[in-house]
């Protein structure tokens, strides 16, 4: 079973050293081309072209309503859960069109996971929350499930806090813990890409710092795309930044460049806080 070998591989690579020097060009994990998106008659995204670099954190920034969350949802077909929407263009994962070359949305979503703005644990136990994704993907082996649940909770930096109460309700955790539980839940499916929609916007500074540290850890194994309203957060956690404005991708590049020498006037105005 492909899944088991993947789990084992992850275990072995656990202490692989991170690349110390940033290479000049990084292979793209996902490629978006000529993407237009519509809510009914209203166009929300205009001709988006973007490469998501592998094993890096890409931040999507921009004022409210600029389309960054909408864009995020097109990367794992979550946009299809909203009735009345329409999409044109291609989104590729490792060169495969996720809209045409995958059988159904759920097979895309097991490879491109998602963490939401508001933590949304299921009204189940901590264990059942993390194992949910495994169960809906047809994994029945109890030993394997227990192993993956533990690993995922360790990866999400939550294991030490919950290991003695896995049977307790997820609702008994604090807000920050719930959000890390949601991250663990997403990790349990062993996705390759993780989409995060303002994952820390509802959390206190300490919980936010924990999530940010976690993102830094996770990028060693996963490709991460994060939507954030918080400029400092984008600067802290991301390697690449894309600035959206009114449905258009204004500028995109290395975070350092975007935040120090942006090419476009609009980008500079936004990151210096002149609007938004």
């Amino acid at each position: 079973m492909a899944f088991i070998s993947k789990v084992k591989k992850n275990k072995m690579k656990k202490n692989a050293p991170a690349a110390s020097k940033e290479p000049v060009s990084i292979p793209a994990k996902m490629t978006v081309q000529k993407l237009d998106f519509f809510y009914g008659d209203k166009q929300a995204l205009f001709d988006i072209n973007l490469d998501i670099p592998k094993n890096r954190v890409t931040a999507l920034i921009g004022p409210s309503g600029c389309g960054k969350s909408t864009f995020l949802r097109t990367l794992n077909r979550m946009n299809e859960t909203i009735p009345g929407t329409r999409m044109v263009g291609t989104v590729e994962l490792d060169g495969m069109d996720i809209y045409k070359q995958f059988n159904d949305p759920s097979s895309v979503r097991t490879r491109v996971g998602m963490v939401f703005q508001k933590s949304n644990p299921f009204p189940k136990s901590i264990f059942d929350n993390v194992s949910y994704g495994l169960k809906v993907n047809g994994i029945r082996d109890k030993k394997l499930i227990a192993e993956v649940v533990e690993q995922s909770l360790i990866q999400a930096a939550l294991w030490d806090e919950v290991k003695d109460k896995l049977g307790n309700s997820a609702f008994m955790l604090s807000g920050g813990q719930q959000q890390r539980l949601c991250i663990a839940r997403a990790l349990a499916v062993r996705p390759e890409v993780i989409l995060m929609d303002e994952p820390a916007s509802a959390l206190d500074p300490i919980s936010t710092a924990k999530i940010e540290d976690l993102i830094g850890e996770l990028k060693k194994k996963y490709t991460i795309v994060i939507v954030t309203h918080n400029m400092q957060q984008a600067a802290r956690v991301s390697d690449f930044t894309s600035f959206f404005y009114e449905g258009v991708l204004v500028e995109s590049g290395r975070t350092k460049t975007i935040f120090t020498r942006p090419n476009k006037k609009k980008t500079e105005d936004y990151i210096t806080g002149r609007f938004g």
């Binding site: 979550m78 009345g84 097991t110 299921f122 136990s125 949910y132 169960k135 809906v136 309700s169």
Partner: protein, 319 residues
């Protein structure tokens, strides 16, 4: 500080009313509504008081566990209780799956403003408005004459009516039709209360729509579905019109044991004793007792619905 007539003093900065006195004009709506409530409570008290006072004397184990005797002027009502319970069990088996699936379809698979959804909703609402006697006639025409008669001519052409006659299954199906809107509406309400975020989370983990419905939506909606089912039972248990043509019997010396048997039922038994009895004075205490039993049964079912719902809500809060 200024004073407004009938409103008390108002502080200049915050506008807070310091010493509020109701205006005299408030007295009329207030007393009218109080009188209305008083009338309702009084009527309820008179009905309940009358039934309890007249009925409770006859209620005993003998009354509950024995069949009627001497043309219903003596004996108990056990066959009617048995028939009522059997009837509503069959009805629940028929109505809950259909009602729940309809609600899930309406809420999860259709767009709420689409033409077909609105049509189904109008149909459900109209179903709830159809007088129950019409359901009875429909059951007679459709279930007994058409379905039952059809079965007979297909499988039992040489015998007398086997399925094409009043029977507990046809009465249960007729009642199921009558109570379908109750189940659909309460299930839909429960579905509406489920946060979208939970469904989104399931989809984002690779759950299909069916898995999401089975593992997240239905368990979350379970208290609502259960409440709807119990309300359907308490509604169905008290209906007489739909079953009088479709299966209820005046008197039977045996209990129903097959789906095509006739049966006795509490509501119909009350109707029979109140209208067909040769000696009204002799049947009167039995009549009161039967009414009390029926009331207690529906009241108990409603209470069970309330208790289960609040328990499940509490458990959901913890879990």
């Amino acid at each position: 500080m200024s004073t407004v007539a009938g409103q008390g003093r108002i502080t200049p900065v915050t506008g807070a009313v310091l010493d509020f006195k109701p205006k005299r004009s408030g007295l009329i709506p207030r007393s009218l509504t109080a009188i209305a409530i008083g009338i309702i409570i009084l009527i309820l008290a008179v009905i309940m008081g009358n039934i309890i006072l007249e009925g409770y004397g006859i209620i005993s184990w003998e009354f509950l566990s024995h069949p009627p005797e001497q043309g219903m002027e003596a004996g108990g009502i056990f066959p009617a209780i048995f028939g009522t319970v059997a009837l509503v069990i069959l009805m629940v088996i028929a109505v809950v799956p259909v009602g729940v699936f309809t609600a899930v379809y309406l809420h999860e698979y259709t767009r709420p403003d689409s033409w077909s959804t609105r049509l189904i909703r109008v149909a459900v609402n109209n179903l709830a408005g159809v007088p129950s006697i019409v359901f009875g006639l429909f059951g007679l025409g459709f279930f007994i004459a058409f379905v039952g008669g059809g079965l007979d001519s297909l499988f039992y052409p040489d015998e007398g009516p086997v399925w094409g006659q009043p029977a507990i299954i046809w009465a249960a199906l007729t009642l199921a039709l009558l109570t379908l809107p109750v189940v659909i509406v309460s299930t839909e309400e429960a579905l509406r209360a489920i946060p979208t975020e939970l469904k989104q989370a399931s989809y984002a983990l690779g759950g299909t729509r069916l898995q999401t419905i089975r593992r997240i939506v239905i368990p979350q909606a379970a208290p609502g579905i259960l409440t709807g089912s119990i309300l359907a039972v308490s509604r169905g248990a008290g209906e007489v019109a739909p079953i009088m043509f479709t299966g209820a019997a005046y008197y039977l010396p045996y209990l129903p044991s097959k789906l095509n048997d006739q049966f006795m039922e509490l509501g119909y038994h009350i109707y029979v004793m109140a209208t067909q009895s040769p000696d009204i004075e002799a049947t009167k205490p039995i009549l009161y007792g039967t009414v009390l039993v029926l009331l207690m049964l529906t009241f108990a079912l409603n209470s069970v619905a309330v208790i289960i719902r609040s328990r499940m809500r509490k458990r959901r809060g913890v879990y």
